[in-house]
């Protein structure tokens, strides 16, 4: 389908014809996070469609992806390199679940809309005074449209209601399904006996409004989910494997025991292995929370998730990709049962009160009227009219409308809400626990104290010349220095950058490559300056913590790092409660202890050592720099390392909860007027239609006030 809609295929030459004749589904998908306008679409499509090995490329701007049709199993690396060369960051999408999952719902929505408008047209004629044969005729036409349409369109509600009843629970779909079925049944009977009141339009507008709520809900959530999945795909999914004398890029999943992998400086160890190079410095913070680099020598074991700071190194895998520590921790986190599974959503609780109340009332109406008048048919009509007019419509929209608005606002701020009940749980949080390393702070290289100003200038110039994250991390500390002019700059991949400065050879990089010192060093002429790894607070941490304190949250810092490192950062950010030297299980225990004291804890962390705590806490947030496992465990993912999103999430969550409660109050208010009228037997289809539309519109408008 998407192949046929690609105009680029026309120009793509013989490969395109072959592909069009054979398989037409895209074979590859790349994620392009920086895609944002029509010029980007044109640049990407022109580049990819101009290549011989690409049959067709079609950009999807909403999902920030490009679908590529090429030979199955083709290596996407050259495309990624070409896209990077013209300025588009590109990653291979790992989960190829393309397409929109809600097409069925949209179709149902369209059919419900068509049926509702046509039946409403006929109903207006009846309400404005059609009688006898004309009225019956209109009722019959309405019935032929409404019955199949309602049965087909409301199928999702019937299914959900049925599964709730099977599990002996009540959810909002039970009264919805019941109201639709009874409205259809009663109206059909009225039509057959030539009665005055048919509720076909009510059944259909109920279906239409509720489907609209559901479509919005799934759209928003699938957008957030797919963005979160894209983020996880930024983790390298390919590794350089040494085969004979050459390095071949292969997917991480294909790594087997005994394979030798080549890792550049700054790369994450993909699977557990043994170091074959003479020595290396490792950043273990993702696993243990330590911020200091660790030295390892040849033959020592490396654990998946560690970052190689000096390189390049070669590593021999000791396990298959499936058996790596990283995978085991991911599985562990998935198993950990947290507080969230015990949380009952507001909608479920409202349904729990609403459904028995309304069903009880209409049953009482049936009993009362049959005893009072002895007319069973009349009593039944009143009971069913009560059920229809109490309109679970507004109640059904109350939560999804607010959730859609809140999730949408957060999505535009770069905050992805993954869990359905996350906002409600976040609104109840009163304690915020931060992980230190990687969340509140990150590692940076800094020049030792007492270095002459001219040398700092050389360092700044060299760091600016390189794209490596480690050398870029030096720059913030050198803001006041003036960069020196460099000549013949040369960057050696995975080792460092060298140049000459006024005739003096200078270099910045791995000590083994420069030949002196240890770790990362700066070389100016004959002098060697070792760079220290220091810890600094992430840019927004201070501001975020200040606004959290102003909002009245208790703030804790939890870390696997040493007491001194923890205290130093705690003083900078003025955090009161510091827990240092805490391992993964103890992190979870600490959070459990806080929760046993009645606190609702929000855990914010990025490392593998945080995953248990993230899934155990009342609510959890992971920064976008976090590992995939931590992002999976968290309810909310922040894009980038932007902590200012944390107060925003909490503010919007509280506002959303208020709006939801207001919506329940509004819906209840309508029912306070409608129920007595219905019980007295004054309900008409016109009243039902009015009550349903006004309450739905009020609830939706109120939801828009969420900010």
């Amino acid at each position: 389908m998407s192949m046929a809609t690609c105009p680029g295929c026309v120009a793509a030459g013989p490969v395109a014809e072959q592909a069009a004749a054979g398989a037409s589904a895209p074979t590859h998908e790349l994620i392009l996070p920086t895609l944002h306008c029509s010029a980007c679409i044109r640049a990407v499509e022109t580049l990819l469609n101009g290549r011989d090995d690409v049959a067709c490329a079609r950009v999807n701007l909403s999902r920030k992806r490009v679908a590529i049709t090429a030979a199955p199993g083709a290596d996407p690396t050259p495309w990624i390199t070409a896209l990077t060369a013209i300025g588009f960051e590109a990653h291979e999408a790992r989960n190829d679940t393309a397409g929109t999952p809600d097409d069925g719902l949209i179709l149902r929505l369209g059919i419900a809309g068509f049926a509702m408008m046509n039946v409403m047209l006929l109903s207006v004629a009846v309400w404005s005074g059609a009688t006898d044969a004309t009225r019956d005729f209109f009722h019959w036409i309405a019935a032929t449209i409404a019955l199949p349409a309602a049965l087909y369109c409301a199928a999702p509600f019937f299914g959900s209601a049925l599964s709730a009843l099977r599990a002996a629970r009540l959810n909002m779909d039970v009264p919805i399904a019941l109201a639709i079925l009874l409205a259809c049944g009663l109206s059909l009977y009225e039509t057959m006996i030539g009665g005055a009141h048919a509720y076909f339009d009510a059944a259909l507008s109920l279906t239409f409004f509720l489907l609209a709520g559901r479509v919005l809900d799934t759209r928003m959530r699938s957008a957030a989910r797919s963005a979160a999945a894209d983020l996880a795909a930024l983790e390298p999914s390919r590794v350089m494997r040494i085969e004979g004398a050459t390095r071949v890029s292969c997917p991480v999943e294909e790594v087997r025991v005994g394979d030798v992998m080549w890792l550049a400086a700054g790369a994450r160890v993909p699977v557990d292995g043994i170091l074959l190079s003479p020595g290396a410095q490792l950043d273990r913070s993702a696993l243990t929370g330590e911020s200091d680099a660790v030295e390892v020598s040849e033959g020592r074991a490396l654990t998946a998730g560690e970052v190689v700071l000096t390189g390049p190194v070669t590593v021999r895998a000791t396990v298959d990709a499936q058996g790596s520590t990283l995978r085991r921790l991911v599985q562990l986190a998935a198993l950990a049962e947290g507080a969230r599974s015990r949380y009952t959503s507001l909608a479920t609780r409202a349904a729990g009160i609403y459904a028995p109340l309304v069903h009880g009332l209409s049953f009482a109406a049936f009993l009362g009227w049959s005893v009072a008048t002895g007319d069973i048919y009349h009593a039944l009509t009143i009971a069913i009219a009560t059920l229809i007019i109490t309109c679970p419509c507004a109640l059904g929209l109350a939560v999804p409308a607010v959730a859609t608005v809140a999730t949408g606002r957060l999505f535009r701020m770069g905050i992805l809400v993954k869990s359905e009940t996350a906002l409600e749980r976040l609104a109840e949080v009163d304690t915020v626990v931060f992980d230190k390393t990687g969340t509140l702070s990150d590692g940076a290289l800094a020049p030792p104290p007492g270095v002459p100003e001219a040398v700092l200038g050389v360092l700044k110039a060299l760091a600016e010349a390189s794209n490596h994250p480690l050398s870029r991390s030096v720059l913030p500390a050198l803001r006041s220095s003036e960069a020196q002019k460099l000549d013949t700059v040369e960057e050696v991949r995975g080792k460092g950058v060298r140049a000459t400065c006024g005739g003096v050879p200078v270099a910045l990089g791995d000590a083994g490559w420069i030949g002196q010192g240890a770790g990362t060093v700066l070389n100016v002429g004959d002098d060697i300056y070792p760079l220290m790894r220091v810890e600094r607070a992430v840019p927004d941490a201070d501001k975020a913590l200040q606004s959290l304190r102003a909002m009245g949250f208790e703030i804790h810092m939890l870390t696997g790092d040493t007491r001194e490192n923890a205290d130093r950062l705690a003083v900078t950010l003025s955090v009161d409660h510091v827990h240092a030297g805490v391992g993964p299980e103890n992190k979870q225990a600490l959070i459990d202890a806080l929760q046993e004291r009645g606190r609702k804890v929000l855990m914010i962390g990025d490392g593998l050592n945080d995953t248990l705590a993230l899934s155990g806490a009342w609510a959890s947030i992971a920064p976008g720099t976090a590992l995939e496992a931590s992002q999976n465990a968290a309810d909310v993912v922040l894009l980038g390392q932007n902590l200012s999103g944390v107060p925003a999430v909490l503010r919007i969550a509280r506002s959303a909860r208020r709006r939801i409660l207001e919506n329940f109050a509004l819906a209840a208010g309508y029912n306070c007027i409608a129920i007595p009228l219905a019980l007295m037997g004054f309900a008409t289809p016109l009243m039902a239609a009015l009550a349903m539309s006004t309450s739905s519109i009020t609830v939706t408008l109120n939801a828009l006030r969420t900010r």
Partner: protein
């Protein structure tokens, strides 16, 4: 009231036409990339209608 025999089918047919058009747009993937469709209108070389 005989005019109803003509008008009611007319209104139903019109509505049905709209429904068929809607199903057609759905079948042709027109809701999968709203942001992209809005941007592509600015591209000069996108004249070919999606087939």
């Amino acid at each position: 009231m005989n005019i109803l025999i003509l008008l009611v089918p007319c209104s139903l047919l019109l509505g049905l036409g709209a429904l068929v058009a809607f199903v057609w747009t759905l079948r042709h993937d027109q809701y999968s990339d709203p942001a992209g469709d809005a941007a592509r209108i600015l591209l000069d070389d996108e004249d070919a209608p999606p087939k």
